[in-house]
């Protein structure tokens, strides 16, 4: 089959699916959907269809990005727009199927929005919703819409047209198109993609390699996972385009071991592409061959660094080396290698198909196109988003994210994970761009964006990231191996109320030394979370050091719990659940907390009926009033 025939077949199949006289039902089955019970929902859909004797096309799709609404089920009846339903747990499936497919009630109460032409009364259009309206989807355009395990679905959306077009172009022209697009590395560093390709192309040494960095190690980020699980072919096509531009048949994907579903879907996708001669020998009858092998990582954050990643593929310890030479000169097995991130590759097919100018029409002067972010933390609508560069943090947090959970005050947004920094409310109007974020003391990073409220302690947050880097340091260079643990020790002391005047200055001096002296990206950026936290939240550091209090009431050594007997209904749930038996009570009376045994685990607050909440967290290590004997209290309310 030539590509035109493949396309015709794909379009016919897709059309048959959409215009079928049977309803189409899709269930979001990426890792996030499965965690929310997507598999059970899928099974329930099939049961319900069987029960009512309804014939329907049922297929799994990837993640549309609204993770907080999973499990997500879409139903498209013939001649109607596709309706997206949210939070369809298995127990709701039967009534939904029955109401809509048997009695033609579209259940507007469960619906989120409609996709496609036409309207359904009482249901808004999905992409008019506040969380989706500001988004521009390029790399995520197919996620949640197509079956990631069916190559024809991808082709029907225009997939592999870029590759087929490029095969008729001069490789230099393909690189020129990427240059025009202004695409920069989406892994975080922002190196212009075309330059890597151009340098690799010009290198006289062979063989050369194209490597896809899918070692998404930043804790709090899942953009790459969603793309790989929801639309694996877009990454394969991007890699094939890179291979053609550079002039090499060798591609590797380095995927982290924690993503088994991504690996499974990639393997299926590679096989399907080979079967249609879109990968493998002499692609579409041309002289260009390209093959992709998957290498699974083994759980080392440092392997996201280029040279460490390549050592890991070679089967060595993933310890970075001194650069230069850069990997385009000396990469995998010392040969020219272009290493690009998943999201970078996912943007390439659209750029080649629609032209670099089209892509560059989005974004800012220095940051073109769009960027995906994993928006998480204390936010109303966590999920995966793709926005044009230059959008402000405020728009992301308040419009797309829907503001802070429980209407609490916004405190900070953390971008770039362990290599990035925290930005305070005063910087919410910062446009998202490589340079602006760097100037503010953070980084773009791969796309983790964690929003925190006033219940998060910035000292604890800095400690968390530093502890992460200490654990993940490969131990090769002294500043990182020895310096980071010293910083961590100091911060731990501060969180225990043992901070000394001058600690902040010492932390800053040591941090700057490590930034200047460490060997690789992990070390040079590891102090960032601490330095940015000190820069914007000095008050909190001083409160820990001078007043020995934790304003956010997080640091366990600086807080205690008290129980107000007047509000207590003496249900004694806290008593039975207290792991250290620090809570005691006489029958039918309000319990008492023994401060000396309390480990401040907070279990009592979790199990206490929230409406009443007589247990409160208070600053200070202990107080005389805490744990008052029950007989001293005037009123006991039994409920």
């Amino acid at each position: 089959m030539n590509f035109g025939e493949i396309q015709k077949k794909a379009e016919a199949e897709w059309k048959a699916l959409l215009e079928s006289d049977k309803p189409l039902i899709t269930v979001g089955l990426a890792t996030c959907g499965m965690a929310a019970g997507g598999n059970a929902t899928m099974a329930a859909v099939k049961d319900a269809l069987a029960k009512h004797g309804i014939e329907a096309n049922v297929m799994p799709v990837g993640c549309i990005g609204m993770c907080y609404l999973e499990p997500i089920v879409d139903i498209m009846k013939p001649g109607r727009p596709r309706i997206t339903y949210c939070r369809v747990s298995q127990d709701k499936v039967s009534s939904l199927i029955e109401d809509y497919l048997v009695y033609d009630n579209p259940r507007a109460d469960m619906a989120l929005g409609t996709i496609g032409d036409g309207t359904v009364e009482g249901i808004l259009r999905l992409f008019d919703l506040p969380m989706l309206k500001p988004q521009v989807r390029i790399s995520l355009r197919n996620c949640g819409h197509i079956n990631p395990e069916d190559i024809y679905h991808y082709i029907a959306q225009g997939g592999y047209t870029a590759l087929s077009k490029a095969l008729g172009m001069d490789p230099d022209d393909v690189i020129k198109e990427v240059e025009k697009s202004g695409l920069r590395g989406r892994g975080g560093a922002g190196f212009p993609t075309y330059r890597k390709w151009q340098e690799a192309r010009r290198s006289k040494r062979a063989p050369k390699f194209v490597v896809c960095n899918a070692d998404e190690g930043d804790p709090g980020a899942f953009m790459d996972r969603s793309v790989l699980e929801g639309d694996p072919h877009v990454v394969l096509e991007g890699m094939a385009l890179a291979g053609y531009s550079i002039g090499t048949p060798n591609g590797y994907i380095y995927c982290r071991a924690e993503y088994p579903l991504a690996v499974k879907r990639l393997n299926i996708a590679i096989q399907q592409a080979k079967d249609l001669n879109l990968l493998g020998d002499r692609i579409l009858g041309t002289d260009f061959s390209f093959d992709i092998e998957i290498m699974q990582g083994a759980g080392a954050f440092v392997c996201g660094e280029g040279s460490a990643l390549m050592y890991s593929i070679e089967g060595k310890r993933g310890m970075p080396r001194v650069r230069p030479p850069r990997s385009v000169e000396s990469g995998l097995w010392g040969l020219p290698t272009s290493l690009n991130n998943v999201e970078t590759f996912a943007n390439v097919p659209a750029i080649v198909a629609r032209g670099g100018d089209w892509f560059a029409s989005y974004g800012t002067e220095t940051g073109k196109g769009t960027k995906t972010f994993a928006l998480t933390g204390k936010i109303n609508r966590p999920g995966l988003i793709e926005v044009p560069m230059g959008i402000t943090l405020r728009e992301i947090v308040h419009e797309i994210g829907g503001g802070i959970l429980g209407d609490k005050p916004f405190k900070a947004v953390q971008t770039g994970g362990p290599s990035g920094g925290c930005l305070p409310a005063a910087l919410l109007d910062t446009p998202v761009d490589y340079e602006t974020l760097a100037r503010a003391g953070s980084i773009m990073g791969s796309g983790g964006m964690v929003v925190v409220d006033n219940e998060t302690c910035m000292v604890d947050m800095a400690r968390y990231f530093l502890a992460f880097c200490v654990e993940e340091s490969c131990g090769k260079c002294v500043p990182c191996r020895e310096g980071l643990p010293l910083m961590l020790e100091m911060i731990e002391r501060i969180t225990q109320g043992k901070g000394k005047p001058g600690d902040v200055e010492r932390l800053e001096a040591l941090g700057k030394t490590i930034v200047a002296g460490a060997l690789c990206g992990l070390g040079t950026s590891a102090p960032n979370p601490v330095l940015s936290s000190i820069r914007y939240f000095l008050d909190e550091w001083n409160a820990h050091i001078e007043e020995k209090t934790c304003p956010a009431l997080v640091c366990k050594d600086l807080i205690h719990y008290e129980l107000d007997a007047r509000k207590c209904v003496a249900c004694h749930r806290c008593l039975w659940s207290c792991p250290t038996r620090a809570i005691t009570a006489k029958p039918l009376e309000a319990p008492v907390i023994d401060q000396s045994r309390c480990t401040r685990c907070g279990t009592c607050v979790t199990v206490c009926p929230a409406r009443i909440s007589p247990i409160t967290k208070l600053p200070g290590t202990n107080s005389v009033g805490a744990g008052r004997p029950a007989e001293n209290q005037e009123v006991l309310v039994h409920g």
Binding site: E70, F222, Y259, A298, P382, Y464, S577, T603, T606
Partner: protein, 155 residues
């Protein structure tokens, strides 16, 4: 009881498909661990033979990566995510509660051999934070007491 010879035979069978391949070492270690649940000492020798390096080199590589285990894990593997989003949403409470309930620390196995506890940096299910995984089952929005409840399903 399987004897050393059996394990060696088993390892040899598991790593045989990697003979002559360009990328051997880490995939071979992974193949052994997937099947046995851990890496026995025999694995280092056999994989070393296959890759043409010493057993020490193989161990050096294996010990660098967090994924590899060197002791036999329990029947059920509990993994608590300590990624950023989970941390902010209270993941340490899950980890603390489980450690207390099972009377083990991270990377340990209960005396009865039923449960092993590990912490993981991010499953990429951040929107459901905090997350814990038992074997292949993912649980989202878990609390400290909730995590202990979940374990009852596996007892």
């Amino acid at each position: 009881m399987t004897t050393t010879v059996d394990i060696r035979e088993q390892v040899r069978d598991l790593i045989a498909p990697f003979r002559g391949r360009e990328i051997v070492l880490i995939p071979a270690l992974q193949a052994v661990q997937v099947e046995l649940g851990y890496l026995p000492p025999e694995a280092f020798e056999e994989i070393g033979n296959l890759a043409g390096v010493s057993a020490n080199t193989v161990y050096g590589v294996a010990s660098f990566y967090a994924q590899f285990r060197f002791v036999k894990p329990g029947e059920h593997m509990i993994k608590v995510c300590l990624g950023t989003a989970c941390h902010v949403c209270g993941a340490t409470k899950i980890s603390d509660a489980l450690q207390r309930e099972l009377k083990i620390k991270e990377k340990e196995t209960t005396e009865c051999g039923k449960f092993s506890l590990e912490s993981v940096r991010c499953f990429g299910s951040c929107a459901l934070a905090p997350v814990m995984v038992v074997d292949e089952d993912v649980y989202g929005n878990v609390t400290g007491p909730g995590s202990v409840e979940i374990l009852k399903k596996y007892k």
